[in-house]
Symmetry: C2
Subunit: 322 residues, 2 copies
């Protein structure tokens, strides 16, 4: 069995990690995925953090050495004994024995903090909503699902801000994809948010210029920048344009057609289920990289990095060995 | 810093692992030793074992793969996150972050069960008291220190016997030193037990023929056998003979003279402290191997195995690099 494909989803608390991951898990199948929470590697429990006046965002508050060791084992198809942090009461429980499946999705705060950690991922995604949007999301979730008051959540955000600035946000520079949903215009709803994607050259992204080039009038814009492309997907993208873009991406993955289902783009506001085309496209782009990495590793490649566009296209057209 | 020296002390429950280890820790210094309990790697807690009718002696009841992984990390001077089994209530607690010190002493039931595990140890000691002596020791300890009744302990011993026979005892074939204290003669006390040691050729043992050769009349006997020597140390060995033997062993370790103190041979019966010359000699022989391994690894050797006697003597006479 080839080694698992490692996807890292990093971002501050409330930045949308779970929402992004959910669609990816639905498409790949829960039985194919080892869901791995990086924040289980805290060094101190809630009480100890309070005593030391340290936030969980601080690298010193986490066993990043053990995290790197465990990610390396998972990548090599070895089992690990994963620590367990219990958010409910802020203490540690008995560790879990974890055997990696075909895909490992590691979510959390500090996954790209050290070179050792970054090296473990085939696909590195950083979620980077503007702070006002993240605050809105975090208040909404922590109040509705975790039983905090708005004042408590806002106070905690302020307390953590220096560490967010110093340790969390700089990690965006090390991501292959930076996803930045945009706050709604004043008075607009939170259902159809624009997405600004930075697609770094550290991975070879699918060529979308054919679809997007003439899209200036509907707000779908692809901009070349040094070292990256920037893709702007309007939240209210016409559905035929969204479908066209999806089609273009799926077409490049003939080896994964059996996964093509309408499962992307779902999210919740409170307990209500919604769907967003821009979210679906973000998830599909991540899936593209995960699935091409899977295909390339199955063909014997060490990773999916460092390929020229033409070379990659040829390899993606290759049938997977039986 | 050179890698830690790995000592494995394996034997059934109540075979004397803690007693043997205590003297070694006292000489090397607690601050130099990472004490590592193999039985923390149980797969099931007490309740789950009862439900499955499986004993902790069964390999399937332990994460031996994770144990081997962790021993390999410790040997390579890497930290680990060690699971914790709580004997008090038979459940698992939060894991411990462990950074190896100069010596790692791993004690437990199944440390030599697989080749992967055995390969991790510089010195492999198996404790092999005859069953009647082990039953006596286990009853004594479990009743006085762990609050069980004699009947409970004996019933548990019977329940575990098939697994002891199948999984634990065969490990003695893989030890460098097999230590077998002998039950006292009828009516005699448990204070001065004879020790029968099997010294396998898998390590180069100190040459004791000069001291022991003429010792037939006092019961100190060294016998050459295929693949090993057998050393018989009477519990009532005259103290000048014991001192002579100790002197011979210490003389071969000029690099470790600063550790030469009267700390070996102590043990408890109930809560009373006693001293035994045969126990002290067993501990000193183990120490000899641990300290020569330390010296050889400091000199750049991969391990202390596979040396000819003469080659080893020359290396042990070499000054340690500053």
């Amino acid at each position: 069995m080839p080694r698992p494909i490692m996807l890292g989803i990093v971002g501050d608390s409330g930045s949308g990690k779970t929402t992004i991951t959910r669609g990816i898990v639905r498409v790949l199948g829960q039985d194919q995925i080892t869901d791995f929470c990086i924040d289980d590697y805290h060094r101190y429990d809630r009480k100890q953090r309070a005593e030391r006046n340290i936030t969980p965002l601080h690298p010193d508050c986490n066993y990043l050495d053990i995290l790197a060791q465990h990610l390396e084992h998972l990548r090599a198809n070895n089992p690990i004994m994963k620590p367990v942090y219990r958010h409910a009461d802020g203490t540690f429980g008995a560790p879990d024995y974890l055997q990696p499946k075909r895909f490992v999705v590691a979510e959390g705060l500090l996954g790209f903090y050290t070179p050792e950690l970054r090296d473990m991922f085939d696909v590195r995604v950083y979620l980077d909503p503007p702070e006002d949007l993240r605050r809105h999301w975090k208040v909404q979730r922590d109040c509705s699902r975790r039983g905090y008051t708005t004042d408590q959540v806002l106070a905690e955000l302020d307390r953590r801000e220096p560490d967010s600035e110093q340790f969390i946000r700089p990690q965006r520079h090390h991501a292959d994809l930076v996803v930045s949903f945009q706050p709604p215009a004043p008075g607009a709803d939170y259902e159809h948010l624009d997405a600004k994607l930075t697609l770094r050259d550290s991975l070879t992204h699918p060529d979308l210029s054919g679809v997007v080039a003439d899209g200036v009038e509907d707000g779908l814009v692809l901009t070349e920048r040094p070292g990256c492309q920037e893709l702007y997907v309007p939240g209210k993208i016409p559905s035929e344009r969204a479908a066209q873009l999806e089609e273009t991406i799926w077409e490049k993955m003939h080896f994964a057609q059996h996964l093509r289902q309408e499962k992307l783009g779902e999210f919740t506001i409170g307990t209500e289920l919604h769907r967003s085309d821009s979210l679906a496209l973000v998830q599909l782009l991540i899936l593209y990289h995960v699935l091409t990495a899977r295909h390339l590793v199955s063909l014997g490649a060490q990773s999916s990095r460092g390929f020229e566009s033409s070379e990659l296209e040829e390899l993606l057209a290759t049938e997977q060995p039986a």
